[in-house]
Symmetry: C2
Subunit: 722 residues, 2 copies
């Protein structure tokens, strides 16, 4: 908790960027068409009320503003510096800024790490300067940032200053691509979505994506945060801040591109091989309630829906259309995205039938037919009836019509919207002159009605809104637990291992699990068949024999495993057989004894795993066992640390979940115990993240409800540096 | 085969609709703004060169055309009649038409079956008239039809006559909704997609959707067929014609709406309960290579891609963008839709590096950066290099850029396109003035470059095109086999059953399977434990005992099944136990003996089923057995009759397929034998479609390769009328 608060407090550092009382433009030019001329032009025309200090030794003034030869020459305090001079001069200028006591610097100049090693070294110096001076640096190689609320335009982008804000909630954009961020900003503007804040983070020498995210999470002026992400660095921190956004009811809409980046590397465990880079991103985003849009169009649709003031209180939708086709298309999409096309109440239908022509449908979707051309108040009447129906949470109006029909619909909706309470969404794109159609849609947007052109995107966005609302109700912070005796016990198993030892034996892995309170069968390590029998007699029959070797990962493949040994003779016999098989099939393997393990009673097999993700750090995997994992890849992931909710979700989201819940009269399995194991594994994964690269508990046996779980086998792959 | 040819020949009947030498408009009006005025107006202005005969007793002439009091008064032959008089007069007018020898009538008038029973009766008379006279009738309650190639406008719709045809292949539209069809027609027009033929089929009193489809399949003027479908009637015939389209290399793009229609009815078999209405449609469409678009936007994207002259010879795509974001978005979508974002050859990259600025990427996606603003021929140079790369099947150009950049891209592409050979696709929507952007896109379209605005839709459409091309290479007609002795043998099992007997016993079901050459274990029916032992001794131990009762569908649930009986004692004991259990747990059940069946050796369990689909008739289901079906619903469907290719596809498309192919060193199962069984079941389903409502062979055991398959249990539900 303290950690989280600290995470957020840090963001005070960004206030000078978004709310500076004074701005210096280092390298300012009176040629406003040039990139270094634009910031002054923008600040002058955007309504920014703070002080503006152009800095350039070649000019005495720019547009009535005094121009200073260097930042040192400014006799007043400067909070923000915008740097638009060539790369070579940037570092010296930044040193001067820090000396002057500047709080933040936006380095727009490019030519740093994106060009090679030399540039990277310059960037390293920047981040060092930021650390030492406390002056925070944005960029370099960025498009800068914009606060549309106070006219703070620290950017060279030729973006329109969007004063028209058609939707009632404010939203920001943080982008890892300057050009594409600007493209999104403009495309959104066409849909009358005006971002209140825009930040292009550039090379992230000092401030990174997550820093801006953290600022937006606490800035009371921002209600919705959106981001364009190409690659995350510290996924764990990102996720913690994103979770905080959810806890504070701030929707965070993300377009994460680069699904194909970095092909999955070869991995020795299931967990490793099943974790495609994008799967982990999806899991992490789900975990923190991040709304992930797969396309630009979906991204804009989501912002539209979240920006609208009214939100549905449930998934029950009424659809009103003026053509059968439009209604059925919307209805199909609702079905696809788990919205309820509800049955209207008998009373509503009765009243609808009174006003509708006999050939129109009062069933949901309500089809007014082209009759509304001759009877324009048909929509008004029907809309009010539908809106009043207690079964209805929202009304979706189809715009899959001709321009003339859409105009009639628009006229009514604009008049009607403020008179009703429930959320309304207009979906579709009327046929007609494109410019005229856009004007018409703008009229609808201007009263607050969200408009989305494509049915799939619009209905998808509503479903995301509903899911997000649900998630805000269940989200919690992960329990913070200080590493205790468990961690120390486990570390004692790792410490004596040779440096290059990559795999733990099952016996060692079992000890690690046991340290974290994960049940493993009683066992002993034998070095002769006599010892094996002795151990078996001590722990009780039946037992299992398993060869222990760091060189044998899949014991069954080489005959290294025999189950269900019921008496001393069977143990002796199996011991000999295993030794003979290994000698033949894995003659090179280093052997570290024979594990004699109590045979577990039958249970439902699942797999629980851990892997270190390059972006998110320790990740926990869960799957239904055996064939389900191998053939169907039926697994779920969550980034550690897990909350109880995460553990519950990951058990329930696999397709094989019914096997655990009990099918065809089977008893339910001990799901509560399973969830506890996931939390324990999450803790193990966090605390041993420097030791464990990958781990599979496979199978973990889940017994009937109340009877617990036990790890029947475990494979731990160590993290070996170099 | 003969049947198929007949299916196609029938379509000669539609020639008078699309190619009439003379047209009468019954109810023609000189008021061109009225629906009955529009057909004359359209025919006069559309370039139609045949004879036009207005018919209306109230006028002597309409626009210099002589107007006749009735169709009988026209002294010349009339091939097509367009009927736009009120409903009451329609039938008498049609009788006159038939008498006059008219070949086809387009009944635009509404007020028939869509208004109730009385209207339905009038329609019945229409179809009777069509049958008796040979005059084919389109509609009623339709928007009519259009042939843009000869100006034949038999419609009252205010559609633009599209003379601009920007793409090189011709395409038609058949729609089950007049209004939505017209909407599609217009929206397509905005993308410069001009349909050559348009037919709104209305209430389908005589001619239905499939009739028009069949016509388009043989009409040499149509290259691509598209359809808007709300509900099919004779799915089997539809599918046969659609398959014919594929065999003749005619793409058929469909938007089928109404996924939610008619909730799945309660069913006693797995096959019944797993067959959601939309699953069967999806399976049927896949079977015939129909391209199903889930949204209007995808529908238009597919038409765009199919209409373009050039088609990629493989899935290897090169992406050229002027911003990193655009490239990565397209690259993600390619990954999503199984297109290869190939590695360019070393040589190509080497040459690219020579012309690209140092900060641009020569890897695929090739990112030209905004450098092309200052160096406009950069695209030209790079494009030619990429196009020449033998690794590249197609080039995708990103339009996710500003208007200025897009303009430079457009200028180059328009100049370049004819000089190169490989397919090019432009995807994205540039930011800028909407009307100007559209003009720019039109310039690209006008030289033949397909343009799609949303990346997901565009890349999806390419992937559909590639899949369709692949399917055209493997499609075959189902083998036509005349019902033989198998059918007669099976019918002999059904005939003696009481009329209301809904379920066959396993013994009876087994006999049906055996008739079709499907292996079942050797078995006998016993009525005492002594008889059971005698049968067991005859067929050999081990055996299985199964109670036979039409009232017990799931034997295991009531203890009616005991496996693996190794000797007479075990048989006797099991016999007694089953009788006792049944007496206690299903006392009301009518018993029909005890099946004594040879115990099958272990094999991989699958399920094969049959159900009668309301739309498509007999449907065959296949799934991996047990839990896979119950928990994961991992099944595939195909409409009977199956081709060998269908059988092969349906085995391979289930997720559990690797279990059959062999995982972790398992032997492969006898997949060839399994495919043969599917073909036998397909035949059984066709020939016994009047007897069998549903059938499950569950489990069907598939033995190792070369060892065949056997049905371990079967449930047949009879079709009972009433």
């Amino acid at each position: 908790m303290t950690k989280i608060i600290k995470l957020m407090q840090k963001d005070k550092d960004l206030e000078p960027f978004f709310e500076p009382r004074s701005v210096a433009i280092i390298g300012a030019s009176p040629h406003f068409h040039k990139p270094n001329g634009r910031p002054v032009q923008s600040l002058l025309s955007s309504g920014y009320e703070g002080e503006i200090y152009p800095v350039n030794p070649n000019y005495r003034s720019i547009e009535n503003l005094k121009c200073y030869p260097s930042i040192k020459d400014i006799p007043y305090p400067v909070e923000l510096a915008i740097v638009v001079i060539p790369a070579a001069g940037v570092l010296p200028a930044l040193y001067q800024c820090a000396e002057k006591g500047v709080k933040g610097a936006v380095v727009i100049t490019s030519g740093f790490s994106e060009t090679g090693e030399e540039g990277r070294l310059l960037e390293n110096k920047m981040s060092e300067l930021a650390r030492q001076s406390g002056m925070r640096i944005m960029g370099p190689n960025c498009m800068g940032m914009i606060n549309n609320l106070n006219g703070l335009w620290a950017s060279f982008a030729q973006l329109v200053i969007q004063k028209e804000h058609f939707y009632e909630r404010r939203f920001s954009l943080i982008s890892q691509s300057g050009f594409f961020g600007a493209f999104i900003y403009r495309m959104a503007g066409q849909d009358k979505l005006a971002f209140s804040h825009f930040a292009s983070v550039g090379n992230q020498a000092d401030l990174d994506f997550t820093d801006f995210l953290a600022y937006m999470v606490v800035d009371p002026q921002v209600e919705i945060i959106s981001g364009y992400i190409e690659g995350l660095k510290d996924g764990g921190r990102f996720l913690a801040v994103a979770r905080e956004a959810l806890l504070r009811q701030r929707p965070f809409v993300v377009m994460k591109v680069g699904r194909t980046a970095a092909g999955a590397r070869a991995a020795s465990s299931h967990t490793g091989s099943l974790a495609g880079i994008d799967k982990i991103h999806d899991a992490a985003f789900k975990q923190a309630g991040i709304i992930r849009a797969g396309t630009l169009e979906k991204f804009l649709a989501a912002i539209t829906l979240f920006a609208a003031k009214r939100r549905p209180s449930g998934p029950r939708a009424a659809i009103i259309s003026t053509s059968g086709g439009g209604g059925v298309i919307l209805s199909d999409e609702c079905e696809e995205h788990d919205l309820d096309v509800v049955e209207l109440s008998t009373e509503t239908r009765h009243e609808l039938d009174k006003v509708l022509p006999f050939f129109a449908s009062s069933a949901n979707p309500v089809d007014l037919t082209a009759q509304i051309m001759t009877e324009p108040d048909l929509l008004l009447k029907c809309f009010k009836l539908v809106e009043a129906d207690p079964n209805v949470d929202m009304i979706i109006v189809s715009l899959y019509v001709s321009f003339e029909l859409a105009k009639t619909v628009t006229d009514t909706m604009v008049e009607l919207y403020k008179q009703v309470k429930k959320p309304v969404l207009a979906i579709g794109y009327p046929f007609g002159d494109i410019a005229e159609v856009e004007k018409m849609l703008d009229r609808m947007r201007s009263v607050g009605i969200p408009v989305v052109k494509a049915a799939d995107n619009g209905i998808w966005a509503i479903s995301r809104l509903l899911e997000w609302m649900k998630k805000t109700k269940t989200i919690t912070r992960p329990d913070g637990v200080l590493p205790g005796v468990e961690c120390e016990t486990a570390l004692q198993i790792f410490r004596p291992l040779p440096k290059n030892r990559k795999y733990l034996t099952e016996f060692q892995a079992g000890a690690v699990l046991r340290a974290y309170g994960i049940d493993i069968p009683e066992a002993g390590l034998a070095y002769s068949s006599t010892e094996a029998v002795q151990i078996a007699e001590r722990i009780g029959f039946p037992v299992v024999l398993k060869i222990q070797s760091p060189d044998i990962l899949h014991k069954t493949d080489v005959g290294g495993l025999v189950l269900d040994l019921k008496n001393p003779e069977e143990v002796e016999d199996a011991y000999r057989r295993i030794c003979a098989d290994i000698a033949r099939r894995a003659p090179e393997a280093n052997l570290e004894g024979m594990l004699v393990q109590k045979m577990l009673p039958p249970g439902r097999e699942v797999i629980v795993g851990v892997k270190q993700d390059a972006v998110f750090g320790p990740v926990v995997m869960f799957g239904a066992g055996g064939i389900f994992v191998e053939v169907l890849k039926d697994v779920s992931f969550r980034v550690a640390p897990l909350t109880r909710g995460d553990a519950s979700d990951m058990v329930r989201e696999i397709h094989g979940y019914p096997l655990l819940a009990g099918i065809r009269g089977d008893n339910p399995a001990d799901i509560a115990a399973l969830e506890k194991i996931l939390l324990k594994v999450s803790r193990l994964a966090m605390e041993l993240k420097d030791e464990i690269e990958e781990m599979d508990i496979n199978p973990l046996l889940v017994f009937d409800d109340g009877k617990g779980v036990a790890a029947a086998d475990a494979l731990i792959t160590r993290k070996i540096n170099g």
